[in-house]
């Protein structure tokens, strides 16, 4: 039986921690210790008897109270620090734990890593009479002191146990080289936000904080959202409660970016920032909204002049009471309300108590209608879970509206008709008056995990990107508003991606879509403080309605994160990126991904840095835009035009290197080979 507990800062905590620590520090239980290394790869010991009753507790393996738990300290020694060693080698620490009982007994084995991560219990985790056994395997164990603990879950009589630990190592299988960019494959340039201007500095080398602010908050851009004004081409990325305006100059090669802090005066403290631009994709007015959820006064404001001036939306109230809001908008369905004062419906959706809801605005976000429930959920041990078939858990992704006016709110954990938890979408085909939950049948819910994302193409083909239960980056396509789905495709396959986070999807032409995600080829528990995976931003494109996907690494050589990415809420060293990224498209079909870069400065090249242990450069959240500069975009009409500039790209040294074999277009003669198609 897994002994539960509430995670806080990556460690299980109870009120007994201090009490337990004092006792554990004593010698009454004769804390034994031993060492295991590649030179001495096996060690065994006996645990003291534990039990004498049925244990009902939380986090007992962390407290390790005498009588119920026995600790053995195991020093794991590697030939080099783990972060370095595991670049070329892999190791497996196998703990085989056995006992004998005369009554039904369930002992559990836990291993607490030097970083404080819990591993365990072992498997099988069951109750047995007579011989009992659990095996716990830790892949790529950290070097340092581990606490190996024998815990009584159900032990009517005090029961001792025996443990054999073995450490096996092997060279890391040679990873296949990253696939060379296919001819015409999309390419990205990375635009990180500059630091605040110091005395004597002036933009564009730095950013001037908005009037009244001491910082532009560029390094506090966890869960950023991004938008583009299609009329002016100006981009926005939200960094906390600062709206950063980014003007790209495509007359220069490569294009330069000018960053300004255009914070709305109505955006004060924020816990959940959201930006949404009702761009010209389907006739929007290019109005940009900044929504801030905070502990004192939740506010939404909007701008029609690229954040030069802001106007407040529906009022500020006390107190803020909900979570995970999202703003989106688009066409009405054929049955549009007669009295709308704005061409698009604007939706505000949020988690409420027992339900999530969406409210629709017919006046461009000035006022909203009532909040209409999407589904019901219940909160168990702090986790919002779907109640029954056709419902979802509390937290949802970003609302998106299809060209036909159908509105979609994605959710990572919904229950299908058979009560199986799967990613899905709440769908409204009546302008948000009612909602129905539809799930992706071959998707498996990942918990904890990040939100899925959804976007519809020109003829309403729906693209749904998500991190699957196995951690893989999957994307599914539906042609009937989510009633049925084609088999999901694994967009991370070309790079051997084993874990994905922050799925973001943007569709263009009906057969084209882009799917951005953070991915790592490292398998294992991404929530563990021990996780050593290196994450990059990948963007997959389809030009054939999801039948095939071309995936590119948008950040080669510049990791977005080293180590864990925490999805559990609350505070944790690995929660620097918060809950999501964002993606958009400009009027030329160019894809822009807004993301928080968690690994900056020395972290980029130092593999020993890790989000769970720091330093700050490995726990950053720098506002960054990945901007497409090559390959085909999301609108066929602009294929071969270098996104409307007709001026070449950086890979070609200023030549017209926008060749696109898919369209039979060749680049100039002096382009680099990869661009000279």
């Amino acid at each position: 039986m897994r002994l539960g507990g509430k995670r806080l800062g990556g460690k299980r905590c109870t009120g007994l921690v201090v009490f337990g620590a004092l006792l554990a520090g004593g010698s009454a239980w004769g804390q034994a210790s031993s060492t295991i290394s590649t030179g001495a790869p096996s060690v065994a010991w006996d645990f003291q008897p534990v039990g004498g009753g049925t244990v009902v507790n939380v986090g007992i393996q962390d407290v390790c109270p005498p009588g119920l738990c026995d600790d053995h300290d195991l020093q794991v020694t590697l030939p080099a620090p783990a972060a370095t060693y595991y670049q070329t080698m892999t190791a497996k620490l196998t703990l085989t734990y056995t006992w004998t009982s005369t009554l039904p007994t369930d002992l559990d084995l836990f291993a607490i890593s030097p970083a404080g991560a819990d591993h365990g219990p072992g498997s099988p985790d069951d109750t047995s009479t007579g011989p009992g056994m659990e095996v716990l395997t830790v892949t790529n164990p950290l070097d340092g002191l581990w606490h190996i603990r024998s815990v009584a879950s159900l032990a009517p009589l005090p029961t001792g146990a025996h443990l054999v630990a073995t450490l096996s190592v092997a060279p890391l299988p040679t990873a296949p080289p990253p696939p060379p960019p296919a001819p015409g494959a999309p390419a990205f340039l990375i635009y990180p936000a500059p630091n605040d201007c110091a005395a004597g500095q002036t933009p564009p080398a730095c950013i001037q904080p908005a009037v009244g602010s001491t910082t532009a908050s560029t390094h506090s851009a966890g869960e950023p959202s991004i938008g583009v004004d299609w009329k002016t081409g100006v981009s926005f990325i939200e960094a906390g409660n600062h709206t950063l305006r980014v003007t790209f100059n495509d007359a220069l090669k490569p294009a330069t970016a000018f960053w300004e802090d255009r914070r709305s005066p109505f955006s004060r403290v924020s816990l959940d920032p959201i930006l949404f631009t009702d761009d010209g994709h389907y006739g929007g007015t290019n109005r940009t909204f900044a929504s801030q959820l905070d502990g004192a006064c939740s506010e939404t404001s909007f701008t029609d002049d690229d954040a030069t001036t802001w106007l407040p939306s529906q009022g500020c109230g006390l107190p803020a009471g909900v979570d995970h809001q999202t703003l989106g908008g688009g066409n009405y369905t054929a049955t549009a309300p007669l009295h709308s004062a704005y061409p698009h419906a604007v939706y505000y959706c949020s988690q409420d108590i027992a339900t999530a809801f969406c409210a629709r605005s017919d006046d461009g976000g000035v006022t909203f209608g009532p909040g209409i429930p999407l589904y019901t959920f219940t909160t168990i041990n702090g986790v919002d879970l779907p109640l029954a078939a056709g419902t979802c858990g509390g937290l949802h992704g970003h609302v998106r509206v299809a060209p036909d006016g159908s509105a979609y709110v994605p959710n990572k954990n919904c229950k299908d008709a058979n009560n199986v938890s799967r990613p899905g979408v709440a769908v409204s085909t009546d302008n948000g008056l009612s909602w129905t939950v539809r799930t992706v049948p071959d998707a498996v819910a990942l918990s904890p995990g990040s939100d899925p994302a959804v976007s519809a193409g020109l003829n309403n083909t729906l693209y749904f990107g998500y991190a699957n239960g196995d951690g893989h980056a999957k994307i599914a396509v539906s042609h009937d508003h989510g009633l049925t789905w084609a088999k999901s495709k694994d967009a991370g396959t070309p790079f051997g991606i084993q874990n994905a986070e922050f799925a973001e999807v943007m569709a263009g032409d009906d057969n084209r879509a882009a799917f951005a995600f953070l991915g790592t080829p490292t398998a294992g528990d991404t929530q563990s403080a021990d996780f050593l995976g290196v994450w990059q931003l990948y963007v997959a494109f389809t030009y054939d309605t999801g039948r095939t996907w071309t995936t590119v690494n948008a950040t080669p050589g510049d990791p977005v994160q080293r180590g864990c990415i925490w999805n559990g809420g609350g505070s944790n060293p690995c929660r620097n990126l918060l809950d999501f990224n964002d993606i958009t498209v400009d009027r030329f079909g160019r894809v822009l991904v807004g993301y928080a870069d968690g690994c900056t400065g020395p972290c980029v090249t130092d593999p020993s840095q890790n989000a769970s242990t720091g330093p700050a450069s490995a726990q950053d959240a720098l506002a960054t835009i990945a901007r497409q500069v090559g390959g085909r975009g999301l609108f066929q009409a602009f294929d071969g035009t270098q996104f409307g500039t007709n001026s070449g790209d950086i890979e070609g040294g200023g030549q017209l290197c926008y060749g696109d074999p898919g369209e039979g277009i060749s680049g100039g003669p002096n382009c680099y080979p990869r661009d000279n198609h």
Binding site: P337, D352, A354, G371, A388, L433, G570
Partner: protein, 183 residues
């Protein structure tokens, strides 16, 4: 009671709608068996909605959002519509509405600081009531007997009048729930 002046045509439309509502929803809902789940579209009258929202009701549209039974009281100005969601007495086998209420408003373990729901207690409504405010759509939750409901009004910019008007409609809903339970 605050009452807006109605145009004659508007008043006639309201009367027609009210009579239709009474025939198809109201009387049947109130007179139905106490053990049947209440019809959320039978818990407010057109006149009550119009009086509070200042725009006539054009339809009461029922739907189900998961285990919530909802009714959208659509007004002529759609932004001023009213949403009423009712948690049935048994939203899930083994989980009563009261238990669901307790889980949401009185969790065993308090949520993390940045995730907690700032529910503001509201006195004098039902067995217990809370107001949840958002930038777009505040909601009033009221528990009464074996059911609870969520009421959300559209079109109001400020939280205070939104809450006050919600309380007014909630009292009407409670009266009808009470009438059902005593029959």
């Amino acid at each position: 009671m605050r009452r807006t002046r109605l145009q004659p045509a508007l008043g006639a439309a309201l009367l027609l709608l009210a009579s239709a509502w009474g025939a198809t929803h109201g009387r049947r809902g109130i007179a139905s068996s106490p053990t049947a789940a209440p019809d959320p579209c039978a818990l407010l009258s057109p006149a009550e909605v119009a009086a509070v929202q200042g725009t006539p009701l054009v339809a009461a549209v029922p739907s189900a959002a998961g285990t919530l039974r909802t009714c959208l009281y659509r007004t002529r100005d759609p932004g001023r519509s009213v949403s009423l969601a009712l948690a049935a007495s048994d939203p899930q086998p083994g989980l009563s509405a009261r238990q669901l209420w307790r889980r949401q408003f009185h969790p065993a373990s308090p949520p993390d600081e940045d995730e907690k729901h700032a529910a503001q207690p509201v006195a004098g409504l039902g067995d217990e009531a809370f107001w949840i405010n958002t930038p777009a759509a505040g909601a009033l939750y009221v528990l009464r007997g074996p059911v609870f409901f969520r009421l959300s009004l559209g079109g109001l910019r400020d939280a205070k009048p939104r809450l006050e008007r919600s309380k007014g409609l909630a009292r009407q809903i409670l009266l009808r729930l009470e009438a059902r339970s005593t029959r």
